[in-house]
């Protein structure tokens, strides 16, 4: 027990350490975010001291950009987990590797949400009045009390799921299904609930006809499903860029000479080699001596030097490898870029997926240093996998990789595509209902879309949003967005369009005109804007740090096995999770 606790703290400590290590791009990015955070904190301290008078809000427009950002980010948080649905319900393999990125984004987004509601409070010092049991919690009557529950619950769920999965990866242990699958399903339902509850926050107000419309909930979900995955696509592209291979490996790749020649420094494997392997792979011990002997048929032990290629992407062979000593890095080429998908050490295998399936190699494996591997034919591997324990460990390790494929990104594009179409459709519904019936309650919508009584601050905004959304929709329908560059552009348009439409375009016009028909406009002040930038920077900083920890764990570079080794040196680019400049 004490050992387990100690191990866990070592894990946390190493994760924390690695957040402070990176190349100059990483330092620049993190440094810039920190400065913006501090500027935001300064602005917030001013607000704390002087009151919300330093914002552009008034008794007439009593919620502003804080709540607008909050609303948008709840959507992002919800959508980040909705990505999980295709993985666990339809068993979509392409997205399986991406789930953790979505969950981490959800955590960062919820942290931002909580920050945005906190800065909106007039008396943040009385936060404890909201704690059930200690304060006075108006549940279930107040939608805000529901929000407190669902947001915090969602945060806990996602922190737990991410933490558990990553810690399993770190220990190179298979995640126990019962420990996380139920929570994943709860998180899916919960994701819908957080966004629905946030919509109900507005929908439930009978005195605000602009919000008091049943379509707000579905619109929220549709727009969230467009903006959330769009944000994830962008984040994944950045991750892909920064997980490009180390220069040392690059040079090795350039070196002529194909796969290590059959006989070079190789010899037939013996039972002693299997003994050695079993030391790193305890499951092997449960295989009967007879089966072990059988598996040695055709098995070779190869001694290779740093930079030697052990197998090459695209070639068709049917052999799998186990590392006996040293380390092998596996990298995959896609659209002209090489990315590290896994890093394997003693006792671990590579090349097994293509060997078992009889498909071409999915990636190239290169020795990081002097390395000894055992190469065995697919049939021998199958022989070993007849043993249930071996089968389980090999199968679970097959999942241990960081592979963000183009197809995965395009699957996400599919989600954005459909959601954007639905979003625009629902918007048309809303606009029709408001304007065609032409009753008295159209005032807010008029103010938003065409201006009212000479007031039209929001008109340029909403039309920009509509233009962005429509361009994004057209791009998503056209095949051009299958090219990743155009996909990036489309995603940016989606995010901006939806941010305006859902944030400023929904929250602000609800207050204009006031219930007594007065026209008072709202413009955020500089102080308020700085607070917003500060919170966004804080959220991005969190997400960057989360990725900085998660990527090496997923690649297998940061694991319990290499606990004793020193941390990767400063500026080892293979590990740096800097963000695209």
């Amino acid at each position: 027990m004490r050992r387990a606790i100690r191990n866990y703290f070592v894990f946390l400590w190493r994760c924390a350490r690695i957040a402070f290590v990176g190349d100059w791009r990483y330092y620049l990015w993190v440094g810039t975010l920190t400065v913006i955070c501090l500027l935001g904190l300064h602005a917030y301290c001013r607000q704390f001291a002087q009151g919300l008078i330093v914002t552009g809000m008034s008794d007439e427009v009593s919620w502003g950009v804080y709540i607008a950002n909050f609303t948008f980010l709840v959507g992002v948080a919800a959508a980040a987990v909705m990505m999980v649905i295709p993985v666990y319900i339809y068993n979509n393999e392409e997205l399986h590797d991406l789930v953790i990125f979505g969950e981490l984004l959800a955590v960062a987004a919820i942290l931002m949400c909580l920050a945005f509601v906190t800065v909106d409070l007039g008396r943040p010092d009385r936060f404890w009045h909201l704690i059930p049991g200690i304060g006075q919690f108006n549940f279930p009557a107040s939608m805000l009390s529901w929000d407190v529950i669902v947001l915090n619950g969602y945060l806990l769920l996602n922190v737990y799921i991410c933490g558990y999965l990553l810690y399993c990866r770190y220990q190179k242990k298979k995640a126990a299904k019962w420990f996380y699958i139920p929570f994943v399903f709860i998180a899916i339902v919960w994701a819908i609930s957080i966004h629905t509850v946030t919509a109900f926050l507005y929908v439930g107000l009978g005195g605000r006809p602009f919000w008091n419309s049943a379509i707000v909930g579905p619109r929220f979900i549709a727009s969230a499903f467009a903006a959330g995955p769009a944000l994830i696509i962008l984040a994944l592209q950045v991750v892909r860029r920064v997980t490009a291979s180390a220069p040392a490996v690059e040079t090795a790749r350039l070196r002529e000479g194909a796969v290590v020649p059959e006989t070079a420094r190789g010899r037939a494997a013996t039972i002693d080699d299997l003994e050695l392997l079993a030391r790193h792979l305890p499951e092997l011990a449960s295989v009967s001596a007879e089966d072990r002997l059988k598996s040695l048929a055709g098995a070779m032990v190869l001694e290779v030097a740093a930079g030697d290629t052990l197998l090459r992407q695209g070639e068709k062979e049917n052999e799998a490898f186990f590392v006996l000593a040293g380390r092998v890095v596996v990298e995959r080429e896609e659209s002209g870029r090489f990315r590290i998908t896994r890093s394997v050490g003693p006792g671990e295998q590579f090349g097994e997926t293509s060997a078992l399936a009889g498909t071409p190699r999915m990636a190239t494996a290169i020795a990081e240093g002097p390395t000894r591997v055992m190469r065995l034919p697919a049939d021998s591997l199958r022989q070993l996998m007849r043993n249930p324990q071996m089968n389980r460990i090999i199968r679970s390790r097959m999942q241990e990789r960081l592979m963000i494929t183009d197809r995965g990104l395009l699957t996400l594009r599919g989600i954005v595509q459909v959601s954007m179409l639905i979003n625009v459709f629902l918007l048309i519904n809303e606009v029709f209902k408001e304007f065609y019936s032409g009753n008295l309650h159209v005032a807010s919508a008029k103010y938003l879309f065409i201006g009212l009584h000479g007031y039209h601050a929001l008109v340029p905004w909403i039309w920009t949003a509509i233009a962005f959304n429509l361009i994004a929709m057209v791009l998503l329908i056209l095949p051009v967005s299958r090219s990743l560059k155009w996909l990036n552009v489309t995603c940016v348009l989606c995010i901006l369009g939806i941010w305006i439409e859902k944030g400023m375009g929904l929250v602000i016009p609800g207050f204009i005109p006031t219930p007594l028909g007065e026209m008072v406009e709202y413009t955020p002040t500089l102080n308020e804007t700085l607070v917003c930038f500060g919170i966004w920077a804080f959220g991005l900083l969190c997400y960057t740090v989360f990725l900085r920890m998660a990527v090496p764990i997923l690649q297998g570079k940061l694991s319990k096995a290499n606990e004793e080794q020193p941390e990767p040196a400063n500026g080892a680019p293979a590990l740096s999770a800097a963000v695209e400049p």
Binding site: L38, H42, G51, D59, G122, L130, S142
Partner: protein
């Protein structure tokens, strides 16, 4: 750790701490940090009479310190068999806004920034569409030809949306029909302000300021005691007056007698008479189902 990395680490740490300190600097301007006593103050409904006694004493001391006047702060409970109702005669109202200012004086509202509980609307004859209302009318003299006036304040709804949405029960309806706020419990989320269909709630966007000589020292805990920055307030039918048998300030000041106030449970009260005998009366935005205790009527 070698010399160089030690120097670098300490340089980074010092810069970081200095930057953090600089960011926190605006907090030094605060002279109103909540004391531990205020921070831990209990919810109104959970206070024992002794707790309340202590809190009232503390509030009196705080007000005296700030304004130099010893106020008399009471915790007035609703009377049995009383449900207050307000009736306002739109035929008589001349839009002079005397009620607005009497209310500000009585209830210790902030003068800067200005907070007012009553908003008088000017409407053209022939329409009750408040989207056509003029808020900032400023003629030489009132009443103006072709217009009528409609003062709007908290409607003291039987089914108040503001109470429903408050996440911390900081606002509630008392048995005499008055919706009140525990100013020391409100967290300032302004959800009630968004929920109110009558724009009756006001927020203290900064520290309220009241000239010392204008302070009304006759105070109630749920009524007109001075509020702090960051909390909601609203019309409470002058709890400090009406719960001891007096009329609200807005009624007393009205030069035309347009305002009527009383106990609807008493069949002989003026408001009972009006609701029984006047044939035209309006509950503002009746279709929302809020069921206001504030009735507008015309003499016909």
């Amino acid at each position: 750790m070698n010399r160089r990395s030690f120097l670098r680490t300490s340089a980074v740490l010092t810069t970081g701490l200095a930057a953090l300190a600089a960011s926190l600097k605006p907090l030094l301007e605060m002279n109103d940090f909540p004391t531990m006593e205020r921070f831990l103050q209990k919810y109104y409904k959970e206070m024992t009479p002794e707790d309340m006694e202590k809190v009232l004493k503390r509030i009196e001391a705080e007000v005296e310190k700030q304004y130099g006047i010893r106020p008399h702060v009471r915790d007035l409970k609703p009377m049995d068999g009383v449900e207050f109702v307000y009736c306002l005669n739109l035929t008589r109202c001349i839009g002079c806004r005397k009620c607005v200012h009497a209310c500000v004086a009585e209830n210790n509202q902030s003068r800067n920034p200005e907070i007012q509980y009553i908003r008088v609307l000017r409407l053209p004859h022939g329409s009750l569409d408040i989207e056509k209302a003029e808020h900032n009318y400023a003629p030489e003299s009132v009443p103006e030809k072709g217009y009528f006036y409609m003062p709007v304040q908290c409607q003291q709804c039987k089914n108040p949306p503001c109470v429903k949405v408050c996440p911390v029960h900081a606002t509630w309806q008392e048995t005499d029909g008055i919706t009140v706020i525990d100013y020391d419990w409100c967290i300032g989320c302004r959800y009630c302000e968004a929920a109110c269909p009558y724009w009756a709630r006001r927020f203290n966007f900064t520290k309220p300021s009241i000239p010392k000589e204008r302070l009304n020292p006759d105070m109630a805990y749920l009524g007109n005691r001075p509020r702090r920055q960051g909390v909601m307030e609203k019309c409470h039918f002058c709890i400090q007056r009406t719960r001891v048998g007096r009329y609200p300030a807005c009624l007393e000041v009205c030069p035309t007698g347009a305002r009527k106030f009383g106990n609807i449970l008493d069949p002989n009260s003026e408001v009972s008479y009006i609701l029984k005998n006047k044939r035209v009366f309006i509950q503002l935005k009746e279709e929302l189902g809020t069921s206001p205790r504030f009735f507008y009527y015309f003499d016909v």
